[in-house]
Symmetry: D4
């Protein structure tokens, strides 16, 4: 029904066999299928079985993001205008950021990744603000104290989707510190998704661009008339 | 700098005198000023002083939403296309919903309020889904267990901004139950702001429509060329 | 003393040898014995020893539900009237739902399982409401935000026993989000058992049908006189 | 639709005027209306207005339970068979127990109150077990450490609905200690509702007796044929 | 200095080599040494090295209690009058109860163990109350909802030392439910030690008997004079 | 049954009338009655009514400790040997310490109060250690970080009963910091009661001296024979 | 003993009379006395009594900081070299910042206040970084998400003392969000004191300058020799 | 920019290859590189590759502290005056204390380690107070109840940096008890860093000595002139 929205499987806690079963069934009714939180073992199993059986099709596994997806061979992506910015501070938050980016891409969005922007080195962030402001939506991925979301919210006028991560230890409480921190400052255009939920952020940003898309098409149509 | 974005004052914990001082100062540099969390006493004080001094201007106080605002007399609102839906279950969540609605309106958005939609009577919600789907953004305000946000997220393709409220008792823990609940289901297009943060939701929805607005204008411009 | 109520062993944290000892001892004094939370290794050990020793008896292990039970060979189940509905959204909550179902069955109840009903696809739920309403008790198993319990409570007039599960991550806090959520909405006929406590829910539902059973028998007896 | 189920208003956080409005509106469509959490001031206001306007009708306010209700003059209660037991330890938990009892009664149930039964004096409890076992449902209201629910669950075979209360201080954390305690022992026929939710427990017990009622009627009907 | 009090080593988180070093050093200055939380591997290592080196001495390892201790060969225990009761419900709390019992014994106390007493079968408890009341101190070890401590406190006049255990799941939160529950009811002669702290309870009970011992000796001395 | 143990009423949350009723009833069956958590208004009410009616009797109200008690006129206290030490750091913890002291005294114990001993000035504590060691039980009352209990536990061999208080702010979380802190160090002879539970500590210490008393009497008796 | 360190009284929870008593007693043995958390009523009481009795002395009350202090008339402050920076974002955190500033000043430090620096307007902060870097210690006072401490820590090389405040609502949990956030980022030269503990931060900064002072004096002395 | 401050890598959650890459890159631009939280496997990998490639350089791995660092061959450390005291109670907190000590040393500070000082044996602490008071900063590392920080704060006038550790079980909640405890008493010159953050404490103490250093140099310079 929702054009361009793939079916998505949550891979955690499912066996490889089970995952394969669901994946295949969805392939028969959809043009794109995405599975998240797929570890290496399960991915190998999926690849082995799916590539053998559907030798004309291509399957993609990203080991950092732990995503596994397929887009039907003859699918012609209708790229949405503009881009989504995915911002994080580096190494540790990287997998969550990648999950967000891949999700957004599969949903027809161009993504600009900025993975070296943290609160510790605020100048790198300031250098890129102008570029980030051009995005249709900004995904900020941050662990520890999650201050990056607040700082970003104060610098741009575009909607910020904040993803707290479980990176950190002790008082960061597996992401709770970042989560509470991001929620406590969401006055200026910041909303929040679950801890480590890169997928949710990518999907959310895509609902935004999907809405823009509709609005633009409608406006152009009206214009034409 | 950000056209149409008002300056906003957080009224809680400020004295009436202090509030007046900030409000007046902002009036001199902006066309719109909004103060949130203004109780009746403070509002009376503000009205008395401001209406006397600026007799040509109109000031608005909403006692449920506890918002106080001013839009300069000669301001011609440039209404954004489409509308924002503000949805809640009724009586208790009403003040937070109103705060969201007024914030969105001051930022140039038309708002459709649906204040009798709860999970207990799911049919009322189903009857309105088609209409809600037309919105550019959907603000869902819900206390207690906050299930309305999840249900809504499953029914529409537009971005849902969920506001947990502190309505409830015991295990609802002043909004924590609703907050965790909303975060735990944000996969399908739901993001969350702070407990009782109607303002934040209204503002966030407005950043979405602001982004749409820009995109539409750019597209029309390009078309014209 | 309580006819039809089996003796139940909590298998977690007990060694296989210990489990075997208790199981055998109970077999000598009861007609049914149930052990929950029995992993594959322990089950294999139990099976090996019990089947050898009691070659006339049948032992049942359900690897998803992790239940191990025995009903004496010549036992003639006196099935209670009506049925208990066990409802969940799918894959991840499946083991807990199975534990509930098996417990209820061992206690002499017919069970109707509906394992594809979630809040995300509310229409599947609505399609089955009429059938669910026929149950004597409804067990709702749900993780993440646990909204299914609230929605169900609003749709039926029969007692709902809600089981939050530890399925989810981050803000779902190993089942705490679902638990608080279910407790916060239990006004309309919903009560709650511990996180992942499928056994408790099955047992509880059985105390309900046991009570009905007694009442019906008493009424028929009185009628006869 | 659900015969004998009254409409219920949650009085907390509503103004007296608002409450009156809802109450009157419900009176026009129903035979019974119940409002919970109505403090003395609001009750006085309701009484004054309702008794004046509907001079033929009787309105009931229980100041401990904080319930306010009305049953239409010509209503002939169809009392359900058997009774519901409401058990608590005394003074402090009394208001919550009363809320449960009144709710159950309004829904057509006879209630037996046992308000002097606590864990500290276990013998009083043992003396009454036989009588309690006769109930169709047992509501246990307990604050502090909530041990009464566990002990009761071990002594009876009928469904226990446990209501933790916010009575206590320090480590009892406004009812959280009792809540967790009750949930942790719900294996043997105990389920739990929200802290201080006497209404919820009374309502839940009534869904049980309602289910029994249906079953008995159906059995008698079948018998007759 | 404190006669009869052994030196005690907390074994968790120490390497076997390290443990051995400390143990040996203490042996040279004391007549008794106790190490708690010693797993099987470490115990084997200790035994191997200590038995070889000190072939005249005996070393004791209890694998359930995970205690390792030594009392010098020629030590003549001066047993304190009376006994300490150690009570628990069974299997799961067994290791913690054993740690308490062994600690108390090493400190010169006779211990009576009652390991089949739980709240579920309250009659077994009542049968033994008279005997328990004879103890100088009563250690109650209980997990899940910890109700046994409250019930015991109400039945006896001797000091109860309650040990919550981490046994349970979900809402029992690794012992937090039992801990809060025990603290919330400690009015009538119950005090609490840390979760799983069998050692602490045994030691505490021994400080009680040590105090009694002193008082008795002093009284007899005064008498004699 | 328990000689010298008074009946105790928990005054919080009871109305003055209610309190009076219970107090009087207990007076008729006991020689001592104690009510805790009695505020000034309730105390005045009790005094007025009781002194009028029982003009021969004396009633005692301690406004800091908020205790109200009565010991029958002709009661001859049988003081237990030795004393109980009640230790705290000063001003803020004073009321809780007083509640403990008065409770212990009413139960027939001599109390030595040391109310100027805190961790900040460790030397005052060291000066008194020898004297404290003479006590039969040591009650340590401490708020904020509760370190006094740990330090005391390390210095004496007698049982320490620790009472965390709700004194402090922020991270002391209404006594939770002190509570957790005291529990975390209870290895060396420290056990804990609920936050602000001076009564519980006094009562607990009295169960210790009661046990000593019995032991001494028994020893003397045996000696005599 | 510690030259220049005043005696400090924690005013919360003490009566005015009690406060006066302690204040006067300290005046007799010290040259400076500071009381924190003194509300207006208590301050008025103190002023009235102290100014009458000690008419030659001057007493200072700061109603925002809620501090009351006295420095003996003939006291000649020996100002320490350099300055302490006290930074906050504005209105709401103002009282805590003032408490910090006054404490530092009374301990002989010059203070530079920068009260309009927040994360929302990062440029104001950047403009002042160079000046802030000159400080001997930097006190950062911040509520809500507390991100200012992290950002500051990344920009300067001097020790940052972070004070989380209870400003905020919902997920900011009375300062817990800011506290966890500040702790989670304290790697780069940030340490934390209790929520709202302006006094503690001021005092801590003063122990730093006191240490510098000693070091400088020692170095100059050695130089001279 | 900040002379003598090394670049620091957080090793946890990074692969050995990744770590090596960052380490080498930093070596090219700095004179010192420190990696924390490096386990044995990663250290072996780093050593093997770095020693082969940079055979003239020396690399240091501390297996307890889990630190890996390099200081360029020709680097001449400019040791700061005075010393930093690192204090802990022993075995279990040892690794965190070592991380603090090594961090401080790499930043040019002499460190005095006192690793046998705990609250249980307060006399050892008192014996060393005079020596500790000579330090420029005092790092106190403590788990369980963290009382050592409070006691130290009361005994010395120099800034105390407290590091709670995750050592303990049950109510110590992985360091939360120690953390809250330390925060609750930080009035008298104690500030706190994250749980187990030895690195943070060492770094913080070094910012203090760095500030002293500057002040002393400035003073001497001014003197000279
Ligand atoms: N004391 C109570 N606790 C929890 N829920 C209640 C209570 N009283 C009424 N309710 C529920 O609240 C609903 C009405 O809420 P409202 O529309 O806010 O009056 C009813 O359908 C009841 O199920
Ligand atoms: N301050 C107190 N804290 C805790 N428990 C108390 C306190 N005062 C009295 N109690 C207990 O409360 C019981 C009486 O409770 P109640 O029947 O509500 O008056 C007594 O048996 C005491 O054990
Ligand atoms: N605002 C404050 N927050 C925390 N501690 C304080 C505060 N004011 C004073 N103190 C400390 O409290 C101690 C005095 O406590 P007290 O004896 O209760 O007045 C002083 O030594 C200070 O260290
Ligand atoms: N053990 C540690 N705990 C907290 N922060 C650390 C630790 N080790 C290094 N860091 C900080 O982490 C930063 C580097 O993080 P990363 O880029 O992930 O290696 C450094 O600037 C340090 O401030
Ligand atoms: Mg913004
Ligand atoms: Mg959706
Ligand atoms: Mg229902
Ligand atoms: Mg039962
Ligand atoms: Mg007792
Ligand atoms: Mg001791
Ligand atoms: Mg810095
Ligand atoms: Mg100090």
């Amino acid at each position: 029904k929702r054009t361009g929205f793939p079916e998505v499987i949550f891979g955690e806690g499912k066996t490889a066999e089970h995952l394969l079963g669901i994946f295949e069934r969805l392939m028969h009714h959809h043009k794109k299928v995405l599975a998240t939180r797929v570890d290496k073992q399960k991915a190998a199993y999926l690849l082995e079985h799916l590539e053998t059986k559907y030798s004309d099709e291509t399957f993609h596994y990203h080991k950092d993001a732990r995503t596994f997806h397929w887009v039907t061979r003859d699918y012609k992506e209708e790229w949405k205008d503009g881009f989504i910015a995915v911002v994080c501070a580096g190494t540790s938050d990287f997998p969550v950021a990648e999950e967000a980016a891949i999700t957004a891409e599969i949903m027809g969005n161009r993504v600009q990744k900025m993975y070296d922007i943290g609160v510790a080195g605020i100048h790198r962030l300031l250098d890129k603000v102008e570029q980030i402001e051009q995005a249709n939506a900004i995904i900020v991925v941050a662990g520890m104290e999650g201050a990056l979301a607040s700082v970003m919210g104060g610098l741009v006028s575009k909607p910020v989707v904040a993803v707290p991560t479980s990176v950190g230890y002790g008082a960061s409480m597996n992401g709770i510190a970042a989560l509470l921190s991001m929620l406590s400052s969401c006055a200026s255009g910041v909303s929040v998704v679950n801890i480590d939920n890169g997928f949710g952020a990518g999907y959310y940003a895509a609902t935004l661009t999907h809405t823009i898309d509709r609005a633009v098409k409608k406006a152009l149509l009206e214009k034409r008339d």
